[in-house]
Amino acid sequence: MGTVLDMTTDAPAEPRLVELAQDGDREAFDRLTRAHFGRVYGILFRLVGNHEDAEDMAQDCFVRAFKSLRFFRGEGSFAGWLTRIALHLARDHQRRKGRGARIIGLEDVLQEPAAPVRGPLREATSRELVAGLTRAIDRLPHNLRAALVLRVIEGMEYDEVAEVTGMRPGTVRTQVMKARRLLVRSMRPWLEAGAR
């Protein structure tokens, strides 16, 4: 089926791709998927903590996005809209599994060094710290975790996080602060050891 995409050599802008996808153009949607899949997977990996779940949920995220593409009215960015779907999926995932049942993918974490090697003891401490931190992040309430991941790890601005999470920027700032305090409290032995 011929589309606008066939008639131009330059890649169309994202809003145009979204419009085409809204009209049922699978090729346009594929382009959008390729552009955003990695980022969505990255956020989901931070939130759920393992590759398999993150990949499955990223696929699910795009299936849902395609099905409900008509609801996207272009008021925010398409990336933000996808992130919002991803956050909902992560929240549902956490609810389904329950906090205690969370399996920490240490193998994922330990596959590459968390910090520059400065000696065997320091390296071991750092690895423990990363593993503990991953576990501690996972134990955070969903809202705090989402705010922390998006703001501190993904480096999004407070306004962007607010748009994605549906909270106010001030609330996001508070959530991030609370998350950081909780992490400091639960990670204090490793943090003190690292400081020595």
């Binding site: 996808a21 809204q22 049922g24 699978r26 594929d30 998927t33 390729r34 899949f37 990695g38 997977y41 990255g42 990996f45 931070r46 590759h51 993150a54 990949e55 990223a58 696929q59 699910d60 795009f62 299936v63 395609f66 099905k67 409900s68 593409l69 008509r70 609801f71 994922d108 974490v109 596959q111 590459e112 968390a114 910090a115 750092s126 710290l129 990363v130 931190l133 991953t134 922390l148 501190v152 790890i153 700032r173 991030v176 602060m177 950081r180 992490l183 400091v184 990670m187 204090r188 943090l191 003190e192 690292g194 400081a195």
Partner: protein, 629 residues
């Protein structure tokens, strides 16, 4: 501690990169001095470092193309399972708005084709300038061609949109046509035309606008817009009057809107009158416009005496809150005039308004007095049960109006501890036999003190002396009295007592009248005569003389009282005049008695001796007729 707290606040902000250089310096300085804060700072710093050093997601393990295949498979599977992708479905709000639009279209078509739809010219089918007029095919057929669209909704939508564009053009031309027709039809319409003339004008306009009305053009709605928007006041006024007699309920809104426009508010007001009941609410507002006030009040009295009580209530609810209070009260006075013209119902309303902040009580009473058959209206009000404040108001109203039927009610109020004094005074000035009889009733006057009683009777004597004297004359003449409840003798005695008690010189003739009659007991007559001597004047002597000449031999004591009184009034000459028929020797004897100390007071001894001296004089009249005065 305070420095630590401030430092921790800075610490939180430092991780957002929101610290100024100065704040950074202070944070570091404090961290250098305070171990606890430094430790906290280092922990947070290390946490942030650790968060940033968390392992990156293993993106290299991702196979995006494989994921895409899975996504497609999932989408295809959901389509195959009958779970059609939402991407191919219209959003809910589109479905909902389509449903609403379809309902509206069907509704519009129903109303456009309902029986009699074409017999209602001027019925609006849209709003303002965005009027979606009748179908493009403006045929006066009884069945609207648009009915066919109901069968095939899809093409109907396009047809309606096409017709709307076309109708906008036609609507502009229709408005110009209606404007011109109003101008032509209004040639003979004067600004203050009566309703009959307006109806004739409306007929003329509809005759001219026949084709437009037949084709269901929203002439009424066009007229509504013209009333408020056309710059031509003649057309605006004509449209307003037309809406007044032929408009719908919705047309009143345009008329009310026009009340704010200087060059057409008078026509709008008249149109609201033409509209009858529909225009009432608009007029309730118009009455507060100083320019329209007189017009509204005059017309309200003239045209709506029956419904104006409710209307006044409505108008009071619209009373402006701000502005000059005097001005508002002035305008409110016009409403009282309206109620004055509303008979008994108006009077009842006025009673309710006695304490309304917009009115003075005196104004309300004057309005009450101005009502048709005000006395009957007020009397009618008295029958109901009233609050104390209403009773006070009614007493004032009765005092102002003196309705004959109110005597009983006022007499009843005389017994009230609260209003007794006021009611008693009202009764004294009321006038009429009934009021006098009520004053003489001990049940009415029983609560009054001696001073009050004297004051009230003096008031009555000053106010209604003629009637009192007339009553005294009728009692003395044994004429029939109008009040059958009391015996004539009893009434006479009470009246004599009251008049003597009042000690009012003007009451002396009435006292002499009562004393001259033979209905009352001699003792009462003597005492009254002697008491009257204290406040009677020279001018009363002729009547006393007549009284004396009318006495017979059995009335020696009364004759003695007459002589004492005459002596009190004019001294010895009066006694000589009175006893001119008496031999000189007896005259000297009588004058000698009167010259004794204490004789003027009419002591029993003096009276007895005088009576003895006069007995032969009066006895000489025996067998002869009494000397008539």
């Amino acid at each position: 501690m305070k420095a630590c707290r401030r430092t921790r606040q800075l610490l939180e902000r430092s991780f957002d990169g929101r610290l100024t250089l100065d704040e950074e310096f202070r944070l570091e300085e404090h961290a250098h001095e305070c171990d606890a804060c430094r430790r906290l700072f280092e922990e947070h710093e290390r946490l942030c470092e650790s968060l940033l050093n968390l392992p990156s997601p293993p993106v290299e393990r991702l196979d995006v193309e494989r994921s895409l295949q899975r996504i497609h498979a999932a989408l295809d599977e959901s389509v195959g399972a009958g779970d059609a992708p939402e991407a191919h479905r219209a959003p809910w709000w589109r479905s909902a708005s389509a449903a609403v639009a379809a309902s509206l279209a069907l509704g519009a078509l129903y109303f456009a084709n309902r029986p009699g739809a074409h017999e209602a010219p001027g019925e609006p089918v849209g709003t303002g300038d965005s009027v979606v007029a009748a179908p493009a095919e403006v045929t006066p057929a009884p069945r609207n061609p648009a009915v066919a669209r109901v069968v095939d909704p899809a093409p109907a939508r396009h047809a309606v949109f096409a017709a709307t564009d076309l109708d906008r053009v036609r609507l502009a031309s229709a408005r110009a046509e209606v404007r011109e027709l109003f101008r032509r039809a209004a040639l003979e319409l004067t600004p203050d035309a009566p309703a009959a003339a307006v109806v004739a004008f409306a007929d003329r306009f509809e005759e001219l606008a026949g084709p437009l009305l037949d084709s269901s053009w929203p002439v009424g709605r066009i007229a509504e817009r013209l009333v408020v928007s056309t710059p031509d006041p003649i057309v605006a006024c004509a449209a307003a009057r037309y809406l007044g007699v032929r408009g719908s309920d919705a047309s009143v809104g345009a008329l009310v809107e026009a009340l704010a426009l200087e060059d057409r508010k008078q026509a709008a007001t008249l149109a609201l009158f033409d509209a009858g009941e529909r225009g009432r609410a608009g007029l309730a507002r118009a009455v507060w416009d100083p320019d329209l006030h007189e017009l509204v009040v005059e017309r309200a009295v003239e045209f709506a005496p029956a419904g104006c009580v409710a209307w006044v209530r409505e108008a009071l609810a619209c009373m402006p809150r701000g502005g000059s209070r005097a001005k508002v009260s002035d305008l409110a006075g016009g409403l009282l005039r309206v109620l004055s013209g509303a008979g008994a119902a108006g009077a009842r309303s006025l009673l309710g308004l006695a304490h309304h902040p917009a009115f003075g009580e005196a104004d309300v009473i004057e309005a009450l007095a101005a009502t048709e058959d005000a006395g009957a209206a007020v009397t009618g009000l008295l029958e109901a049960h009233h609050s104390p404040s209403e009773i006070a108001f009614l007493l004032r109203a009765v005092d102002r109006l003196h309705p004959p039927g109110a005597v009983g009610w006022v007499a009843q109020q005389c017994r009230s501890r609260r209003y007794g004094g006021r009611a008693f005074r009202i009764l004294a000035t009321f006038g009429g036999d009934r009021a006098l009889f009520a004053l003489l009733d001990p049940r009415v006057s029983g609560r009054a003190s001696a001073a009050e009683l004297r004051g009230v009777w003096r008031l009555a004597i000053d106010h209604d002396l003629d009637r009192i004297e007339d009553l005294a004359r009728r009692i003395a003449d044994a004429s029939e009295l109008e009040q059958p409840r009391f015996g004539r003798r009893l009434v006479g005695r009470r009246l004599l007592e009251a008049l003597v008690f009042a000690e009012h010189p003007r009451a002396v003739p009435a006292i002499f009248e009562l004393v001259g009659g033979d209905l009352l007991q001699d003792d009462d007559r003597e005492r009254a005569l002697l008491a009257a001597a204290a406040f009677a004047g020279d001018e009363h002597y002729p009547q006393l003389r007549e009284l004396f000449r009318g006495l017979d031999s059995k009335e020696c004591d009364l004759a003695a009282a007459c002589v004492i009184t005459a002596h009190s009034l004019l001294g010895e000459p009066a006694v000589r005049d009175l006893l001119s028929e008496v031999p000189a020797r007896r005259q000297r004897s009588i004058l000698a008695l009167l010259s004794r100390p204490g004789a003027r007071g009419g002591t029993a001894v003096t009276l007895f001796k005088l009576a003895h001296e006069l007995e032969p004089v009066l006895g000489s009249r025996a067998g002869t007729e009494r000397i008539s005065p």
